[in-house]
Point group: C2
Chain length 252, copies 2
Amino acid sequence: MLYLIGIGLNDEKDVTIKGLEAIKKSDEVFLEVYTSKLQVSVERLEEFYGKKIIRANRTMVEQDSNKILADAKTKNISFLVIGDPLSATTHVDLILRAKENEIEVEVIHNASVLNAIGITGLQLYKFGKTTSIPFEEGNFTVETPYDVLRDNLKLNYHTLMLLDLKPMEGKFLSISEAIRYLLKIELKKNEKVFTENTMVVGIARLGSKDEKIKFGKAKDVMNFKFGDAPYCLVVPGKMHFMEEDFLKQYRI
Amino acid sequence: MLYLIGIGLNDEKDVTIKGLEAIKKSDEVFLEVYTSKLQVSVERLEEFYGKKIIRANRTMVEQDSNKILADAKTKNISFLVIGDPLSATTHVDLILRAKENEIEVEVIHNASVLNAIGITGLQLYKFGKTTSIPFEEGNFTVETPYDVLRDNLKLNYHTLMLLDLKPMEGKFLSISEAIRYLLKIELKKNEKVFTENTMVVGIARLGSKDEKIKFGKAKDVMNFKFGDAPYCLVVPGKMHFMEEDFLKQYRI
């Protein structure tokens, strides 16, 4: 049996009762450590769950997943994912391959950035497509986030931008870098999609007790010290007065 | 203290440890019963949580929320929401009013349809704006869902459609009705956005152990017997081969 378990966004107590029960009856527990960042140490998870946790990096999950699947044929295996287990392509692939191998799979859902972002007061059903801002590689700048933003804004939708991260290397694209990334594409394309005066919401450590949310002009949010990762950035589209009212509390 | 707690999509064990701890130390526990449908009885929740639950309907939350807020000034109040607590406008409003009244608020997140829909294998970041299909009132047909679908498809995005429900009256818009709703607008607007041959995914009881997912032409999914509510409908945009591969298992 393969349990794919979302452990939520913050600490050891964000797992569901159902998730914890599955972990407790598992012979092996893996934790996917490359698509997100925990707000708590693995040791604390181990203590709370009462289980030893094997850290699974990208290579392990994408290339050595045969081992995980082979084990799941005869044992109970928990594969823990920060947030919700279905947010990353590789996990969906794992389910597919488990099913091909006639291994029973149970998915145990949890919160993810996609719904926790509602804490900004922006209505979830008014968000358009989500996009990601990557680390720049050499001189090549991927313009997709700018294009997605433009398409969403045309339709008055809000845009959630996830900021790239390499947790294994301790590298996290900052809110400031993300804003400069968009400004750089604006300079090049000049479509008046994103300027220094565009109103944005910067969010650090979403879903944790010390999450930090700041709403203001891009040039001001860019200079705010958000503290530790992970980060995301929202560019609101057309706002309802209640959304504006709510965002006021986060005004820089 | 006001705790806004998501209890997840399925049963009493989908609450998080953090959520359950908050419930246990609450003096009063409300359950919002008008924006979604539980897969489990309130009695079973009460037994598992060890607390009496007060059912809160729309009138109570929108009009009599002063009482909930007044209580939260001096007592610990839990306000439970099926799925994630921030998916409905009224709950965001409750937070805003609590803060205006200097009442401490803690939001405890959980899974919602917005991320659990990943179980279709369709990538979450490839979904455009979410839309809802309402019950028809008289001869007036709201065309928004059709328009949102058209805009999403133009950009190759997937579209999640939530189907209207009035749980207090036991009324749930069925997948068949939703498809006929879209076909009816197609007949009128004739923009070739949604036809009998459009590939769709119908989902019943998402996130529960007996969730039912069917992928096929609109005319075939329309005739499938999905069983009990709640329901949603997805119209995939441009699919990656892995998404197609995954959906095959649900083929009608």
